[in-house]
């Protein structure tokens, strides 16, 4: 290389979408917007400063107008943008900023910042969490004005004309709606988790993404050469020639591996001794059904429904929900689609919000608790699900059940929703399987009671492990203690599976554990009827299942239950299945605490 070599920087984030890409960075977010300078304006210059502010608002308005005009109709966020248009000229924002420039003789950026901080302090005190979150609308609008004031031209994402790796602080729905996605090789964002908008889009498009990098944007410049490894969550800036060669190789290996595994993805998952298991997919967007089909999913084991409720100023209507559900149900028919009712919780509802509403949202008002408290909201969704059920094979699943009465209440509401549809003369199907997520320890221990009320259990291992071991996975201090193979977890899973067998109901698993190759032998030994996972994980999982023997896994489980630590259980699995797993999984993924 002829230019001065810059040091290679390796960063670790969250692997939101698998794959490897190498390319030039393209920054779409300006960190400068956060830093607002303050300076005095001479009295004579005040009118000019006000004029500058007005011009910035005008530009912001034109930008919004252009986005609205260019947005495809199917994107439902256009009316949010219309509201933002109105906010731009709002007295309390626009008028007050101008007054502040006049009165305090400060620059427009600082005046706007002062006004916004004041407004946010009012929102901060609100108790209604939904209204409180509306502060984000004001933040969005003021950011837009600020960008125009600071003179930092907003990067026009729509104008990207070469294949690049998009680097942003965060990507909103409005941002992604502008991107010409064929031009994007991969995504890197500072904010967000696996369930972030960027992650979902990247997985749907099957391009690599690493999110939650925290400060990538300050380290990466446009045109920098970067490597994104969406399998491991690694991002490398200014890679050395040697690293480049290594990653080119890995990239090719991954592509070969992927092609290889996808070829046989439609072969059934039947163990060597003839036990058949359904391998289902977890999805979040209707668009993902394409991946489900491609990767050979036998149905949808978990359809997360939160997406339609996020990043918007009002909840979706029954028609809107029904349309989306019906799309998925029709495409998948006759395969089952398991629709999980709204699971609004801490990290999901907060993706794009600036204020935390609860001190401990994971233990707070979320999922079924929230829905039972908002019967109108809940019934709107239940009606939409029952109506979609008339078009295919639907199951309904309630999340975060922690007490028996919650199932009774939820089922009563489901009946009421059916009755109201009957009255309205709308086609629907109430004759669907009703199940619950088992993800709270209290539900595990009372599984015998719960089983009387439902047709199936679906074990959500991510939350169950977190609640059972009292481990916050996002907390780096304790994340290493998050162990799916912990003896406590194995006993809980076994208990749930046994109760389900005894009571004659089905038992599924839809957490990450179900899709992790080296957990599959243990999970199989428990006697799960179905596993559900990210579409991308299906081909490998099916391969692993085909190469093992159910009888052996039962013997393995018996041994595993005698172990005292997760490490011992892991070693047991490795000793028995290491070779098979190494053959079928992508290198580097086979380790403890994955």
């Amino acid at each position: 290389m002829s230019q001065t070599p810059e040091n290679e920087i390796i960063m670790k984030g969250i692997n939101a979408s698998p794959g490897i890409c190498i390319g030039k960075a393209y920054l779409v977010d300006k960190e400068g917007v956060d830093i607002v300078e303050k300076y005095d304006i001479k009295k004579k210059k005040v009118p000019a400063e006000i004029k500058r502010f007005k011009a910035a608002v005008k530009k912001a308005k034109d930008e919004l107008r252009a986005i609205i005009d260019d947005s495809p109709k199917e994107l439902q966020n256009a009316h949010i943008l219309e509201t933002h248009m109105a906010l731009l000229k709002d007295k309390s924002l626009y008028g007050r900023t101008i007054k502040t420039i006049e009165k305090d003789r400060v620059n427009a950026e600082w005046a706007l910042k002062t006004v916004v901080s004041y407004l946010l302090s009012i929102f901060q005190k609100m108790t209604d969490s939904y209204l409180k979150e509306r502060a984000s609308d004001i933040v969005h609008v003021s950011d837009l004005i600020l960008r125009n004031l600071v003179g930092a031209m907003t990067e026009n994402i729509a104008a990207i004309d070469k294949r690049v790796i998009l680097v942003a602080r965060d990507l909103s729905a409005a941002d992604t709606s502008q991107i010409n996605l064929e031009r994007i090789k991969g995504f890197i964002t500072d904010r967000g988790g696996k369930a972030s908008h960027t992650g979902i889009i990247a997985r749907a498009l099957e391009i690599p993404a690493v999110v939650g990098l925290e400060n990538a944007i300050t380290q990466i410049k446009s045109e920098d050469l970067i490597i994104v490894d969406g399998n491991t969550g690694i991002v490398i800036i200014h890679p050395t020639e040697q690293t480049l060669i290594e990653y080119e190789e890995r990239k090719n290996q991954y592509q070969e591996y992927k092609a290889d595994i996808t070829r046989e993805s439609h072969v059934e998952a039947t163990t060597a001794d003839g036990f058949h298991l359904e391998v289902m997919a977890n999805i979040e967007l209707p668009e993902e059904v394409v991946s489900v089909r491609n990767y050979g999913g036998d149905g949808i084991g978990l359809y997360r429904t939160e997406f339609q409720y996020m990043n918007r100023t009002e909840f979706p209507s029954e028609e809107e929900l029904f349309d989306r559900y019906k799309d998925v149900v029709e495409v998948m028919n006759p395969s089952p689609v398991t629709i999980r009712t709204l699971d609004i919780n801490g990290d999901k509802a907060l993706t794009n919000n600036y204020h935390r509403q609860e001190v401990n949202p994971v233990l707070g008002l979320r999922a079924i608790r929230y829905c039972l408290k908002k019967p109108d909201l809940f019934k709107t969704q239940l009606r939409a699900i029952l109506r979609a059920a008339a078009f295919g094979n639907v199951r309904i699943m309630f999340p975060m059940i922690s007490a028996y009465f919650e199932i009774r209440l939820a089922k009563r509401m489901l009946d009421e929703a059916a009755e109201s549809l009957e009255k309205n003369g709308l086609p629907f199907n109430r004759n669907i399987d009703v199940g619950i997520m088992i993800e709270v320890p209290s539900a595990v221990i009372t599984a015998d009671l719960m089983a009387e009320e439902v047709d199936f259990f679906s074990i959500g291992t991510n939350d169950l492990i977190q609640y059972a071991l009292a481990i916050d996975r996002g907390n780096k201090q304790v994340a290493h203690l998050y162990q799916p193979l912990d003896p406590a977890i194995l006993r809980m899973l076994k208990h749930v599976a046994d109760v389900a067998k005894e009571k004659g109901i089905k038992v599924f698993m839809c957490g990450e554990m179900a899709g992790t190759p080296h957990h599959i032998p243990i999970v199989l030994g428990m006697g799960m009827d179905e596993l559900s996972m990210n579409p991308q994980s299906i081909p490998v999982a099916k391969r692993v299942i085909r190469s093992i023997n159910l009888k052996d896994t039962q013997a393995l489980l018996e041994q595993a239950l005698k172990q005292t630590t997760a490490k011992n259980v892991f070693e047991l699995v490795r000793d028995r299945y290491g070779e098979i797993l190494a053959d079928h999984t992508y290198s580097g993924n086979f380790k403890l605490n994955q």
Binding site: E82, T83, T127, I138, E314
Partner: protein, 92 residues
Amino acid sequence: MVSEEYVYREVMIRNELGMHARSAAKIAKLVQDSKAHVWVKKGDETADASSIVDILTLACEKGTTITIMIEDPSDIDILNAVAELVESGFGE
């Protein structure tokens, strides 16, 4: 305090989400042609009905009773239109 000179109507917020940005925008739009000020009052706090932000800062959840006041009696049609909009749950 509701002034005796003002004409006012009391209405209850009926939509599930309370008064959010889009509903506030609908009110602001209705009052943009009023002759004099139109106010929205919740408890002791008063907001300018022509400002979305001002209305939002009142934090009107579902079930909140608000008072809509006009300074000029000739804005009575606007008053009624706003009251009906709120009563209808903003058409949601």
